[in-house]
């Protein structure tokens, strides 16, 4: 009993200390993709301001939007911006609007497994859309081969792999395909889950990666961070300036900078297929969803304080975790937008 009791007491004591110190506890929920970054930020911020504790549950973007609308959490987080209907639902329920704050950037990359092909393949928007629509079915199709002169592509059927779980990764991917292909836009559309015309579904990044690695002639998409951390081969994409760009932190930030000039005041903007010579075309912001009014003044100040820190010092921590930083223009604009939180 004694042996059991002492660790138990330690835990109790720790809990007691935690409760005593965290005078203010703020709860958030939402997107899974930025979760590693958010966990680190909230932890670091708590270390700097021991009176503020921010809890975050990565339950998915859909859940984040739902919970913040219902008012069960103080803020939400999402990989795809809220649509007009969702914004209206929030406004109707609370009587004031909800605000979007971009935090970091992510990107999707095409990954493949073709025996005998080890180099980086080039993909054009037409080729990707064709493959995912089920119209381009062979690896040696002229649409693929034309952009990869000198690569010996086999005449095998392409095995398309997509995410089976609803995810921001799929949202970005389908958002891009909707922009570059009218047929995709009208037939499939963009969303966290869509009615895929072809392909196998893998659960999570690891599910897609597993299927691609195991299945000869497979082509799938995963988050850039996941591909980098697991050293997976991934291809270059032709951007809107006609350049073939490999995804990395710089080219993703460049995409955001390209879109920054025209960024709307509510920050709900898609930066897929962004302009700019060095911009990687399948990039996206991820957002925190902050209500524009707080009845609790200390809570409001704490959240504003965190956002201010996140946009300044916090951005310096981003690249260590392989996320791309926000461009300066966006940071400046967000700093101004902080005044809208009352």
């Amino acid at each position: 009993m004694k042996r059991l009791a002492s660790p138990f007491l330690v835990v109790l004591a720790l809990v007691a200390i935690g409760v005593a110190q965290a005078a203010l506890s703020i709860n958030g929920a939402g997107a899974t993709f930025p979760n590693p970054m958010y966990s680190k930020w909230f932890d670091d911020y708590h270390k700097k301001n021991s009176s503020i504790e921010i809890n975050y549950q990565s339950i998915g973007s859909g859940g984040g939007i739902k919970q913040v609308t219902e008012g069960t959490v103080d803020f939400g987080a999402t990989d795809g911006p809220m649509n007009a209907e969702q914004l209206k639902a929030f406004q109707d329920k609370h009587g004031f609007p909800i605000l979007h704050f971009p935090t970091v950037l992510g990107a999707d990359v095409p990954t493949y497994n073709i025996s005998g092909v080890s180099g980086e393949l080039n993909f054009t928007p037409e080729a990707l859309a064709g493959i995912f629509l089920g119209k381009v079915t062979k690896w040696n199709d002229p649409l693929i081969a034309g952009a990869n002169k000198g690569v010996n592509l086999p005449a095998n059927d392409i095995v398309v792999v997509h995410r089976s779980d609803g995810s921001g990764t799929s949202y970005i991917w389908t958002d891009y395909l909707s922009k570059v292909s009218d047929e995709w836009k009208n037939k499939v559309g963009k969303g966290t889950s869509v009615n895929w015309p072809v392909g196998l579904g893998g659960k999570g990044n690891e599910g897609v990666a597993g299927l691609v690695k195991q299945t000869p002639n497979a082509l799938g998409y995963v988050e850039l961070i996941y591909a980098v951390q697991n050293k997976m081969p991934y291809g270059k994409l032709k951007n809107s300036s006609g350049e073939f760009i490999k995804a990395d932190l710089a080219s993703v930030t460049a995409a955001a900078a390209g879109a920054a000039k025209n960024i709307p005041d509510d920050f709900r903007v898609s930066i897929t297929d962004a302009p700019g010579k060095t911009a990687y075309p399948i990039s996206s912001f991820t957002w925190l969803l902050i209500p524009s009014k707080f009845s609790d003044g200390t809570k409001r100040d704490a959240i504003k304080g965190f956002l201010k820190w996140m946009l300044s010092d916090g951005q310096n921590e981003v690249e260590a975790l392989s996320y791309a930083k926000l461009p300066k223009e966006v940071v400046a604009k967000e700093m101004k937008a902080l005044d809208n939180i009352q």
């Binding site: 859940g63 779980d165 579904g201």
Partner: protein
């Protein structure tokens, strides 16, 4: 039900008809009440579940009606939802699992209960119980790293070459699909069948076996013609348990089935099951109709389990009437 054996405390002025209070003091009434509440809770939870699923699936029930069951488009973007491919996938994978697991499981149970020495039987039983306790994600990983590559490289090409003329074994060999999901599910449910069936077989009275042997039957005849029919109801119970687990299994199935809502006679084809699609899409489902359609899928799974269990029970009644009448009450 036997309440007559309790001793009535003496020297009561009203000894004839025992008052509620005295029965309460004896504990009978309390035990009855408490156990009744426990039993009632099970029914209550089931009814509450159905009620909640029914209530929360209002939108798709009114928008699609019966069409939900017979259409096969699942499109969250254009708000079209049909459950047919998921129902098909659930039934096919569970059916395949039972097809594989029932003969294997009952065969193993017969060996453990009737033929193996007690020590071997007990040791093996220990391992079987361990298998039953393995979390399903582990079986899913086994599927991903072992079963899928084996299927793609050896089993599916082999089946295609030998039995490829059948519609069941055609199309490209991805490794994932109905057949793989069925096999992984079979591995998962076999321990249940073995474990329960073995217990049932062991509890068949010794007299039954001895009588059969005394009448001149061989050991196998006694097992096959006397012990098995005697234990049939219990063995069926183990199969129900296996069926229920196979229908509702989520994690392992979604890892190996391919997650594509298709209806295809080919067992090589990737498919989808009800439990898998709910797990995959529930967290990110935003629109009301979308979310409620997933909840209606839950209702469908409930009904499906109910229906298949009912059918299986009907099967027992029919076969035991037609059979030798050896079935236990």
């Amino acid at each position: 039900m036997a309440t007559t054996t309790t001793t009535v405390p003496s020297a009561g002025p009203i000894a004839g008809s025992r008052s509620f209070i005295s029965r309460l003091r004896d504990g009978d009434e309390i035990a009855r009440l408490v156990t009744f509440i426990f039993a009632g809770t099970v029914v209550l939870i089931t009814l509450l579940l159905v009620y909640e699923l029914w209530r929360e699936s209002y939108l798709p029930r009114h928008k699609f009606g019966f069409g939900f069951f017979v259409t096969s488009v699942w499109d969250p973007i254009f708000d079209k939802f049909g459950a047919l491919p998921f129902i098909y996938g659930t039934v096919v994978t569970a059916g395949l699992a039972l097809l594989i697991a029932v003969p294997l499981g009952i065969g193993a149970a017969i060996f453990l209960a009737e033929l193996a020495p007690a020590r071997v039987s007990d040791t093996l039983q220990f391992f079987i119980d361990l298998l039953a306790a393995v979390p399903s994600v582990i079986y899913g990983l086994l599927g991903v790293f072992v079963v899928i590559p084996l299927m793609r490289q050896y089993v599916q090409p082999g089946l295609k070459n030998s039995l490829g003329f059948l519609p069941f074994f055609q199309g490209p060999a991805y490794g994932v699909g109905f057949l793989t999901a069925g096999i992984v599910l079979a591995i998962m449910v076999i321990p249940y069948i073995i474990s329960v069936s073995r217990e049932v077989l062991i509890s068949v009275p010794r007299d039954q076996r001895e009588a059969a042997l005394a009448l001149g039957s061989t050991r196998w005849e006694s097992t096959w013609k006397v012990v098995l029919p005697f234990a049939r109801t219990g063995i069926m119970g183990s199969i129900f348990l296996a069926l229920a687990r196979a229908l509702g299994e989520t994690m392992a199935v979604t890892m190996v089935i391919g997650n594509t809502p298709t209806i295809s006679a080919s067992l090589f084809s990737p498919g989808y099951s009800i439990a898998a699609v709910i797990a995959n899409e529930f967290t990110e489902a935003t629109g009301d109709l979308y979310l409620q359609s997933l909840i209606e899928l839950g209702l469908v799974l409930f009904l499906l389990t109910f229906l298949l269990n009912g059918l299986a029970r009907l099967l027992i009644v029919v076969t035991s009437q037609r059979g030798s009448g050896m079935g236990q009450a």
